[in-house]
């Protein structure tokens, strides 16, 4: 009996030790997302939240640091030729894809060509400047461009630079997103639509010494209040897009930490200048009326009332801390008297009635209500029309709006925040602004690679666009990520992505 008792005790202890140690060894990070990502294929993906998941499974040629500089990831370095039309990229040796295939120049060429040529590829317009790709040697490729294009490297720090395994991509075609195979620190395990995405550590990652967490589960939870509730109750370890109005609550909770960075994008009002019959109004026709609207808004008060002062007021397409911000055009202070004078000068009598399209969302509505109330004092009668997001995009395309409250998630290169909105007939230029001088300045900024020269080109753009352009920039949001105190070593980049390399779970 003694023996059997001891045997039982021993096996029990062994069992506990095994399962216990297994539990200790398996560190599991649970991340709460604000939306369900769309398809997990770097070529076909188009959501901001999808990029957060990609940050763990798909490495890119380059990455960015806090100062928005281009740093190596799967590529070690780059060289641009003197005429700007050829870019040589040296690749990192010893990198494997999740299926064991080696990463080399052929794979890099395949991935880039997939981004360029696949039907329905959203990356094509981003790197359309690439004409051909040449394999120089097994660890270097040369991109031949149609014309010099300095934002190209910035594009390669995002989805357009993500490398996929040629074997897996060839086999899966456009179904690649159901089971992506890339070269990131984690490999894809499973996905239950609208419920969770599970990834686990990739043992052969090139930087495996810096990867400390075994498993990550991404859980899309649309309601921000519920997302935070989950974090508080311990159901999640990290959440993205904390509401500005919840910042105080997070700061007041001892076991939570708030980490923030100013976003790359902006939030503003797009104005209809020449898109269809609705543009035929005092605001669309006369730049003075647009300036009057701007002068009636107190950006600081707006920030204070809606966001508790946590966001950053702005008046340009890049935030005030960005190198390319033009100091010669500071944020105008509210001036109702001047606004009224401008309206009078423009020959406007009586309140200016305008259709104000606002995509549905609690913060959007609050911002719209504040703007409406402020503008009313200067003589504007803004009629708020809350629209479903899907509908609003089409309405904007068709010109069925006069004011449109919409933001842009932002790109690391200033070109990504401006070209498609400010140049004649550009795809996202819903206000249909068109100025030859601005177009020329943009072309110059694209051709030059010296930042100082580019900034000078952008000064011309700012001088014209801020005076009579089709976008009224209001503020820049903050990337707000809240983590539980179990998390160590997390740093937030301005692009909002959740980078998991170097993060430890206590």
């Amino acid at each position: 009996m003694n023996i059997s008792l001891r045997l039982i005790a021993f096996s029990f202890a062994l069992y506990v030790a095994l399962t216990g140690s297994a539990a200790w060894a398996q560190s599991h990070l649970r991340i709460g997302l604000a939306e369900d990502p769309d398809v997990l294929d770097p070529t076909l993906a188009r959501t901001y939240v999808g990029r957060i998941v990609f940050a763990s499974i798909c490495d890119k040629l380059f990455d960015i640091d806090e100062k928005l500089n281009v740093v190596p990831q799967l590529a070690l370095g780059h060289e641009t030729s003197a005429d700007g039309k050829a870019v040589t990229i040296r690749l990192r040796p010893g990198v494997k894809f999740h299926d064991g295939e080696p990463f080399n120049a052929e794979a890099a060429k395949y991935s880039l060509e997939r981004h360029l040529n696949m039907k329905g590829s959203f990356r094509m317009p981003e790197i359309a400047a690439i004409d051909t790709i040449e394999v120089v040697d097994p660890l270097a490729i040369k991109l031949h461009l149609k014309a010099p294009f300095s934002p190209l490297l910035a594009q390669l720090t995002d989805r357009a630079g993500m490398m996929v395994s040629p074997k897996a991509a060839e086999a899966a075609g456009d179904k690649f997103g159901l089971k992506p195979v890339c070269a990131g620190p984690y490999k894809f395990v499973e996905r239950v639509q609208q419920d969770r995405i599970v990834v686990e550590k990739f043992a052969d990652y090139w930087n495996r010494d810096q990867v400390f967490i075994d498993k990550i589960t991404y859980l899309p939870i649309v309601d921000a209040t519920v997302r935070l509730a989950n974090l508080k109750s311990g159901g999640l370890d990290l959440i993205e897009r904390v509401l500005a109005t919840d910042i105080k609550a997070v700061r007041d909770t001892p076991k939570l930490k708030l980490i923030s960075a100013i976003e790359l994008g902006y939030f503003g009002i797009t104005m209809n200048l020449a898109n269809g019959p609705k543009a035929d109004n005092p605001l669309g026709k006369d730049a003075r009326v647009r300036r009057a609207l701007e002068l009636s808004i107190d950006r600081d008060a707006l920030n204070q009332v809606v966001f508790n002062g946590e966001f950053v007021p702005g008046n340009q397409w890049i935030n005030p801390t960005n190198y390319y911000y033009q100091q010669t055009f500071p944020i105008p202070k509210r001036d109702v008297a001047k606004a009224k004078a401008l309206l009078k000068e423009a020959g406007v009598t009586g309140p200016v009635a305008l259709d104000f399209m606002v995509p549905n969302g609690p913060e959007n509505r609050a911002v719209a209500e504040v703007v409406q109330s402020m503008a009313a004092e200067a003589g504007f009668d803004l009629k708020i029309r809350v629209t479903e997001f899907a509908t609003s995009l089409k309405e904007a395309e068709d010109g069925n709006f006069q004011l449109f409250l919409i933001g842009w998630s932002g790109r690391s290169d200033p070109d990504g925040n401006s070209f498609v909105f400010q140049t004649c007939n550009a795809p996202q230029n819903n206000g249909k602004y068109c100025d030859k001088e601005v177009d020329a300045a943009h072309a110059e900024a694209r051709a030059k690679s010296d930042p100082a020269e580019r900034k000078k080109a952008y000064e011309t753009v700012a001088r014209k666009f801020l005076a009579d352009g089709s976008v009224l920039y209001l503020y820049h949001r903050r990337v707000l990520v809240a983590v539980s105190d179990k998390i160590e070593g997390y740093r937030q980049m301005p692009d909002g992505l959740v980078r998991v390399v170097g993060v430890k779970l206590k």
């Binding site: 209040t225 109005t245 609550a249 509505r365 719209a368 209500e369 029309r385 809350v386 479903e388």
Partner: protein, 294 residues
């Protein structure tokens, strides 16, 4: 008791009690229904007298009074842009109550005639209408309402139309069922025998007799419509800012439940009170008008 002490029956006094008076008398006895009726009347009164009853302008913003707790100046507190919650609840009653009444009005106005037609005419008209009604009822109510509201464009009146249209099938079915039952009654046969045209029988004889269950269903439907309006406004498809409605107030209040719970509590409570009252009233009406219950 002798014949002398019995009260004399004067000729002319022996008449049937008016069914409406009888129903009212029975309704009075059900305390729940009376409470419901009282609260509903109170809401309607407050909604009608909103401009005089509300202490502040419901859309007047105030940057210095953002999200203030209830106080003597603002009995129910202020919201995220400094508006008085009490005034918005009072004015919101207009939006929510009219959403309830108008949508059910639409459902009655379209559903009852169609139901009469289906029940009375029968055969292929009935078959077609019934299939359409079945199809509409098979699709989730909120999905139908969302699709319609999105199609018509977000506004309170469009939300009312969307809710009204999605509530119509129930009234068609109810009216049809009642009409079918009434068709075989003696008074209908008698009316036919006398030579009344069908439409006259349907309108003058059948319709008045099937009003009771319709009334019951209507009051219950108003309750449902108020909640549906709240749901649509919650999703952004109903009342447009800055005009208040209880549903859109809940939408804005959702983010602040920890910091400013009064923003969410009062419109939610208003919905609850109004809907509960309509439900109590409807239940009471059913009991009062049902000949089987004492």
């Amino acid at each position: 008791m002798t014949a002398a002490t019995l009260p004399a029956i004067t000729p002319g006094e022996a008449h049937e009690e008016n069914p409406w008076a009888r129903a009212w008398r029975r309704l009075r006895r059900r305390k729940g229904a009376m409470v419901g009726l009282a609260v509903v009347s109170l809401f309607v009164l407050v909604a009608l007298l909103a401009p005089w009853v509300a202490p502040y302008d419901p859309v007047a913003t105030s940057w210095s009074a953002v999200r203030k707790a209830p106080s003597w100046a603002h009995w129910l507190g202020t919201d995220e842009v400094g508006r008085d919650v009490l005034s918005r609840v009072i004015w919101g009653a207009r939006a929510s109550l009219s959403a309830g009444l108008v949508s059910v009005g639409i459902a009655l106005g379209v559903g009852v005639p169609l139901g009469l037609l289906a029940g009375y005419a029968g055969r292929w008209i009935d078959a077609i209408l019934s299939r359409i009604v079945d199809a509409m009822l098979a699709i989730p109510f909120l999905i139908l309402a969302i699709a319609l509201a999105a199609f018509l464009g977000p506004s309170l009146s469009n939300a009312m139309i969307a809710i009204g249209v999605t509530a119509t099938p129930i009234f068609v079915r109810l009216t049809r069922g009642q009409t079918l039952a009434a068709k075989v009654e003696d008074y209908v046969e008698a009316a036919r025998a006398v030579g009344n045209p069908h439409w006259r029988i349907a309108l003058r004889h059948v319709l008045p007799n099937i009003v009771p269950p319709l009334l019951v269903q209507a009051s219950l439907a108003i309750a449902g419509a108020i909640i549906a309006e709240a749901a649509l406004s919650f999703l952004g498809l109903g009342q447009q800012p800055p005009s208040p409605s209880w549903g859109s107030m809940l939408n804005s209040a959702q983010r602040f439940i920890a910091q400013a719970p009064w923003m969410a509590f009062w419109p939610g409570f208003a919905i609850f009170a109004a809907v509960l009252s309509f439900n109590l009233l409807g239940d009471g009406l059913r009991d009062a008008l049902d000949p089987r219950h004492r």
